[in-house]
Each structure stands twice: as C-alpha cells, then as structure tokens.
Symmetry: C2
Subunit: 408 residues, 2 copies
C-alpha cells in the first residue's frame, strides 16, 4: 500500500473536461490498495477573475486582506466539489474538504499565511473508508477558524505539507511542464529534463528564476524529507524528483536560471558607511530580496565618487521607493540613479563556492559572446551575472551550451 | 438604537456597480447608533453557473448532495467578501461571515437544510465593535461543521431567522419588486401595493402562487414574531410589512394569486375507496402538494363511472408518475387520463371559510366572463378555481376588477 498526495494546478482543472481527464488518470494509475489524497487549485483563471472583481470594488483591494482571503478561498471550494463529484460519478468514493475541514491550521497572516500544523484525523478517517480525499490547496484557517490563504502558488505548499503530515510515500506535483529542465525549454531548445535534483539546488534555481515550484513548498519538502515528483498532467512520462541525496559529482553544473525584470539602483553620497547600514536594515525589515549590493567607485560627470549599488526585482521596486524618498530627505547631496531593463543569469550546482574554474568558464563564455557583464556574484550554490535585458536570451543559450554541450 | 437585518438577493448584487449601490444606500439609510446585519445571496446568476458546471461533470449532480452544498456555498462567499470590502472602502467598518462563522447551525439534510439554531455570539461581538456584519445567506453548517445549503430562496429564511435570533427590530427584504401586490402587476396593471399583510395571508398567497418570498421564511417570521418589510432595492419607497396583526375587516379580499402550470389527473376504477386511501397516503409520503382531490361521477364513452380527480403542479408530475404506474399494475381495469395546460386562480383573505357571499361573487364574476370553472375549492383563507390555462390572464383581471374595483 502506498499513500500518495497528488497536486493538480489551476491549468490542469480549468474546465469540466479537464477535470474529468484528471479524475480518469488518477483512477487509472491507482492500485487497489493505494490511498490517494488530491490537492487542487482553483479552476484556471478563477483567482484572477476574483481579484478583478475585488479591484472593481476598491482600487487597492489587498489592503482588506481578511476579506481577500474570504473571497479567494471560494475558488478552490468549486474545484474540490467538482472533482469529488467526478470521482463518485465514475463509481469511486470520494469527498471534498476545504483547507479548514482537512485540518490545515495556519497563522493569522491573511493573504500570506504559513501552515503551522495539520490535524490529519479527518483525512485519515475518510481514507480508512476507502475514499479519495480531495483537499483545497492554497488555504487553511487560523486558530479563530478564519479563512487564510497561503499566497500565490500556495497549493504546492499545501500538498507537500499534507504529504509530510500524512507520512506519505510521495508527493506528486502535476503541472503543465514535464519536470525540471536544465534551462527554460522555451528559451533553450536543447534543454534537458533532469531525473532528480536536491532540495538545495531546486531552492537556488527557484530563487534565481525557475518558477516551476513555489519556493516555500520545496523548503517544506526539505524540512519534512518528502520526495517531490514534478511531472506533467497531460503526458504520462516520469518527471523530476526533488529529494535529499544525489550521487552526482560535486561542482557539476545542474542548471541555468534567469530573472528578466531587474532594476539597478545606484546611490551616491559621502556617508557611504551610514547609508549602507541603514539601507540593509530597511531592506531586511521590508523583506525585499536584493542582490549585487556593494560599495563601488563610480565615475560620473568627470568626477569619481562613492556609490552604493544594488539590484531588485522590478516588481519589488514600488516597495523600495518610499525607502529611497526617506534617504533623499535624510542625507544631503544624495544622488540616486535608477536603471530598469536589466536581467540576471545564474548557474546552479550543489557545490560551487570558491570553484574558480567554474567562475572562469562562466565569464569566458559570456566574454567570447561579447555580452557585457555588468556585475558578478558568487553564492554557495550559484554564480550570477547582471546584464542588459537585450542580451539575456543569447546569454542563456551561450551558458547552457558551455555547461551542457550537446552529446554527439 | 435599532438592530436591523437587511437581505439583498442575487439580482441586487449582480455586479460590482450594483454592490456599490447597495452599500451606498445602506450607509445613507443608517442612523449613527443603528446596528446593521446584511444577509446576501450569491451574485446574479452565480448559482445557475455553478449548477451548470456540475451538470457538465455529472448528468445528475444533485445525487451528490453533500458536494453540491460544498459547490453552491462558495457563491455567497464571493458576495459577502465584496460587500464587506465595499463598506470598508467607504470608511465604514464591516466584516463578512459565512453561514458557519455567523453561527447558523442546520440539520444535515444537504441541499434542503433547515436552520436548527443560531449562536449569535460572533455577530454580537462584531456589532459591538461598530461593524456592519455581512452574512452569507442560503447556508449554514451541520453539527459536523459540514456545509449545508437551505434550498433555493433560502437567503430569505437566513435573514428572518437571524432577525429572530438577534431580536432585531425589523427584517427588511430588498428585492426587485416594490412589495406585495393585490395581484401580479405584470398581469394586472391596476394591481396595488399593500402596506401590510398578515403572515397567514402571505403564506396562503405564496402557497397559491405569489413567489415574492420563500414560504419557509414567512413561517419562520410568524413563529418568531419578526415583522418582515418587503421593499425595492432600486426605489426608495416603503414596501409591504408582513406582520401578525391587521386592523382590517374580516372577510375582505386581500389578493389574487395564480399558478399557471397545473396537471389534472383522473383515475377511473371500481374500487374508488381503496384507491383514495392509497393515493392520499402516498402523496403525503412523497411530500407532493395536491389540490381538487375528490371523488366524482364522470360521464365517458356513454357510460357513467366513478373517478378520483386531483391536480398537481406540472413540476411535481414527474414525481407522481411512478405512483401512477404502481396503481396501474395493482388495480384491474383502471383507466387514467392526464390533462396538462391547466391553471388555478385563487382569492385570499384573512377569513373566508364559509363566507358564501364571497364564493358566490367569485363564481358569478367568472361566469359572467364566460370562463369555464372546472373545479372549485374552499380553504380557510382562500377560494380556488381550476380552469384552462388559456383563460387564466383574463380570469385574473376579471377577479381583480371584481374585488378591487378601481377607485373613481
């Protein structure tokens, strides 16, 4: 007997026909003694449709976080009910459970909740009655029984956390790609699917742009030691297993990631040290991811000056703006320049730190292709380069060709 | 200070614009010290859309009653969240509560639940914090915390039951008509709006075809002694108050109702007495409303015979069919004739039983207009006549003119 948690995203259940296909596949794959828990997102574009309704009520609906959770949690309630009906209509006993009914307890951070515990009693009792249990992803309830959602992509986290709490044999994430690739297959035609990858590598790939899995779900999988099998909803191939161990050689490059909407901020001022501390503390307090943060000498208007440079994702820039305004008011003679349209390309491995050979190979490949390397960064599991957006797709191909030469 | 429960149906909140209008009106009407509870249905055609999704999954989705409730209960969750957001966006504190969070406890009869109790603790605590409380109509949860819906139109019942539990001063039902009329204003142009009507009269009008209010909600109002004010969402006029007492003269006609899809069933057999008992018991067991049930002598094919005659609503006829089949198998020489396309017109008053003058006036008016009166029935609060559907609209006008002569 296996206990398997299977998660299907919104695009896998975007219509009644697709729901029937998912249900038929689950029934076909199920061995008689298997216990199955399905985690499902809202149908297709439901969440976007609900957000646009809310936006017609208020220009800034996310200020009403508790009501956004009440609104958004309705989406999965539709998909779980339809899936449970479809199973029963094929003669397979099934029951739908909202996050709350499934025992998923969160903190009270509306729209960005974190799962704090799962009471598996109800799910286990339904499984013992040989039912397939269909659980609403992306949601739970806090200790006041209020609805709380987990943030975009939260269904992945629901699935992995449930698999951990149920001591499942595996957590399968069904999606519209076939697994984790060495690079974005839309950009690199010769990218290849990996059979497996470690949690650490996957987290680094996600952080640096690979968006197949929600980062938090991989962290939860790592913490609970649950193997995560990422595979296609529409094709019956094996996908990629995210797990603890890998027998691979250390330092071997695993993949190429990129982020294509990066904004660079340069702040020139005499009191660089004070500014550095203040900026850093504020960025951490605001929970904003930043990179390439350093003290540099810049040559501008025929004079050399001191500057702080950092890069943030374009989507986070609106959150940085008030901080910049504050700095401009506080520091005299501060000079700030903003550069949009930047990108970041990275290579990821299980052990890269200090491996000068990889670093050199990375830089030489980009240099040979005449791609401007604006800034470089080395982390424990990755090397990144800031570049112009216009050079990005060529850079991804060049780096992939360098580290994954086509087999002859 | 007044505590007022206001219920808005699906057509009143079918778009973000309409929701904003409802919210603006509630704010404009609210006195500073008023406590307001809003009960709201799903937006516009949401419930129909959800049912059609379920119908694409299963030809007969209502066999999965528990899953239908999980599905349908999602509809009000959207409307309550949007209303609560809209109030807050106008600077008025508000909170949305599902039926469960509002403490509405039902029995476990999925899709046709009955409210068994309401724990008002949460609502009272939110009202004490000066919030407008927006409650999902049509739903509650059973003692296992499972979602249960109250059946079509159940939001009226939610509102009246909440008003009772909260000891509200009034329950206002906002709808797309201006109140209760002496006859269907679509059929009778000179029908007039009543300022008030008793619960008994309203129940009789509903039973006989006036569909402004869900019957059960009026029964609940009667039981709890809550005045129900039926009024327009779109116009600021006073509507009709449904209440216990009326200072009106006994026997005065209050209104004209009709049902336009009636099927007449005639069953000829020698053993009329046995058939009568069996049919009656079965109809009661199946919870089918019937009328004009009697033993008659029929003249057919040149011979006089005994027959049982009754009339049911066309929508209930599918439920009667198996019963008819059973009778045909059991009784020898049974002869059954079905006549569709019938209608029923009724006049309603607070005391009509035995008032021969009203009965005579009713018959004479129809007779003068050359309308065939196929069968007549007298109840405590009404007189009804079975007639051909083709005569119905003329009959309604004639009877209304007779009992509500235009004032000169």
């Amino acid at each position: 007997m296996s206990l398997i948690v299977k998660k299907f995203g919104g695009s896998s259940v975007s219509s009644p026909e697709k729901i029937l296909n998912v249900v038929k596949r689950v029934i076909a794959d199920k061995k008689a003694e298997d216990k199955i828990v399905i985690v499902v997102s809202a149908m297709g574009k439901t969440t976007d449709r609900l957000i646009s309704l809310a936006s017609a009520i208020s220009g800034c609906p996310y200020q009403y976080k508790r009501e956004m959770d009440m609104l958004l949690a309705s989406g999965e309630q539709v998909s779980i009910a339809l899936l449970a009906m479809a199973f029963q209509n094929y003669g397979v006993p099934a029951i739908s459970l909202t996050g709350r009914l499934a025992g998923i307890r969160t903190d009270d951070k509306h729209t960005k909740g974190t799962i704090v515990s799962i009471d598996t009693k109800r799910i286990l009792s339904e499984l013992a009655q040989n039912k397939i249990v269909v659980v609403a992803g992306f949601q739970g309830s806090d200790n006041q029984d209020e609805p709380v959602t987990l943030g975009r992509g939260g269904s992945d986290t629901s699935a992995v956390a449930l698999a951990g709490a149920l001591k499942a044999d595996c957590c399968e994430i069904y999606t519209d790609v076939k697994g984790i690739y060495t690079a974005d297959p839309h950009l690199v035609v010769n990218a290849t699917k990996m059979s497996d990858i470690t949690y650490e590598e996957m987290l680094e790939m996600s952080r640096l742009g690979a968006c197949v899995m929600q980062t938090r779900s991989v962290e939860v999988g790592q913490k609970l030691g649950i193997p995560i099998h990422v595979r296609s909803t529409f094709v019956d191939d094996e996908g990629t297993v995210i797990q603890t161990d890998s027998q691979r050689q250390e330092g071997l490059i695993r993949g190429v990631s990129y982020l294509d909407k990066i904004t660079q901020i340069a702040i020139c001022n005499e009191d660089i040290e004070g500014l550095y501390q203040e900026l850093r503390e504020n960025l951490i307090a605001l929970d904003i991811e930043y990179d390439f943060f350093r003290h540099a000498h810049v040559y501008d208007n025929n004079k050399i000056g001191d500057a702080l440079i950092l890069a943030v994702e374009q989507g986070d820039f609106y959150a940085v703006q008030p901080l910049i305004r504050k700095i401009m008011q506080k520091y005299i003679a501060v000079d700030i320049s903003i550069k949009e349209g930047m990108a970041k390309i990275s290579v990821i491995s299980n052990k890269i730190n200090g491996d000068k050979a990889i670093y050199d190979k990375f830089c030489q490949a980009l240099g040979k292709a005449n791609i401007d390397m604006l800034m470089m960064n080395r982390h424990a599991l990755s090397i990144s380069c800031l570049l112009e957006n216009k050079d990005l797709s060529r850079a991804v191909q060049v780096i992939h060709d360098e580290f994954f030469p086509a087999r002859v």
